[in-house]
Amino acid sequence: MTDDTASAQAMTDEWYPVGLISQLDKTGRQTALMGEPIVVAHDADGQALVTGHNGRRLPVKLRYGHVWSSLGTPKKDIFAIPEADQPGRRFVDVGVVRVRCSPLRAVENFLDIAHFPFVHTDVLGAEPHTEVLNYTAEIRPDVDEVWATEVKFYQPQASKSASGGITTEYMYRVPAPTCSVLYKTCPPRPTEWDVITLFVQPLAEDLCDVWPWMALFDDETAMTDLIHFQQMIFLQDRSILENQVPRLLPLDPGMEIPTRADLTSIAYRRWLKRHNYTYGAQLVAR
């Protein structure tokens, strides 16, 4: 564990998902945020309430199906997802899955496509279609976010509604250290993108609760099918995430070997380092 206070501070002032709005109750969800025990509940008037150590009230926002909170004083609002206000989309609360890994490793795995044929076999990828074609990854200075665009991959079953294989186009976006938004080819509406997010609640540096959420154009598929498809995908990743060494995300370039297929991960690690977003990271090889 790092006890570097500067790095802890940079991430302390960010917003994190801590529960589903639809599951708020009076008893409350006993959970944790970056090592501090917290309770997520609603009060007598139905207002969401997040309580930290010694009963201190923490900031609360309700957005994208989830309750968000922070241990510090967030300097800006939760990142915008304009598609969340677009009429005609269905919003899918996928629910929580706990993973014994660094919250940053969980996000990095979400940004990766090269593992599809081996981990999501015959769903998001299949041999021999393993090649990762060139794409663009950058830290966009105007919005200070990581973006990857023109990411293309052959997928046997890209979504619950997909029938047969298609080459899917992706865009990835990292607007906050433990959150990522994926824009993906939307078969029923070729001019729009489906939105699939990964919101990660850091419980500790090596433990996280992962809250996937989606905003889709899909009027056909039953809600439960949509939830199960995404849970299936994430549970295929979970056994990978729990078996990476070290558990913390190494930011020392000597620790792991990226290739051209990992441009998004390289940009993500660089962005984390630049902002001192190192809760869950390992700075020097140990």
Binding site: A114, I240, N243, R260
Partner: protein, 221 residues
């Protein structure tokens, strides 16, 4: 294990438990390693970590003569060199991408992994055949107490304490999260019949219970 100045052999698995075309995790002093047998039957051992994204290689798969990582399919030869990166089919991986490997020997039905550079061969187990591998949640001393006998420098211990005549081949005890742990290979006299082997397997379980009970008592204040 007999520890000369240059290194020693650790017995990590029964040959029969490492099928051709599979990889398993095995324990040496340095931690977990990936032990695998190629399709042609050659046994190899490497660090249990793919240098790409740190994934455990013992979770991977073996095709032909290479070990592949389950995460992105990066493949390594018996010499530890990366031979294939599926995301870049046209690329010949640079020589610098490799995993640490360990020397491996197979003799008398046991797979031995070299720690350091042993000056001699693994010990002979003539007269015995391997039965099964048990993990005992106790250190060597507790096992010796349970067996009523001391292990040789090679980690061999013969006992009739639990009725059947057994030979235990003890790996070095290791500190793990739950306490001390000793990977123990159980051997029986060559030529004994299945009913005797089954009885021996049960005797070994009984010895394990005795050793773990002793270790448990030892831990109490």
């Amino acid at each position: 294990m007999r520890s000369d100045t240059t290194g020693f052999w650790t017995p990590v698995a029964l040959s029969a438990d490492v099928l051709a075309g599979t990889v398993i995790p095995a324990r040496v002093s340095a931690g977990i390693i990936a032990l695998w047998r190629s399709q042609s039957g050659h046994v190899a051992a490497s660090a249990d970590r793919c240098p790409h994204r740190g994934m455990s290689l013992s979770h991977g798969f073996v095709r032909g003569e290479a070990l592949s990582c389950i995460y992105h399919g990066w493949s390594y030869g018996q010499d530890g060199r990366c031979v294939r990166i599926p995301a870049h089919p046209g690329l010949t991986p640079p020589e610098t991408i490799r995993v640490t490997t360990y020397a491996v020997r197979e003799s008398d039905g046991i797979v031995w992994v070299a720690e350091g550079t042993p000056a001699s061969d693994p010990p002979s187990l003539a007269g015995w055949i391997p039965l099964r591998t048990l993990t005992v949640e106790a250190d060597r001393e507790a096992i010796e107490t349970a067996a009523g006998a001391s292990a040789s420098a090679d980690g061999l211990l013969e006992t009739t304490r639990a009725d059947e005549r057994l030979c235990l081949l003890l790996s070095p005890s290791q500190q793990v999260r739950t306490g001390m742990q000793t990977v123990t290979h159980v051997l029986v006299a060559d030529g004994c019949l299945p009913p005797v082997r089954i009885a021996a397997s049960r005797s070994a379980e009984r010895l394990r219970r005795m050793a773990e009970t002793a270790a448990e008592k030892g831990r109490l204040p």
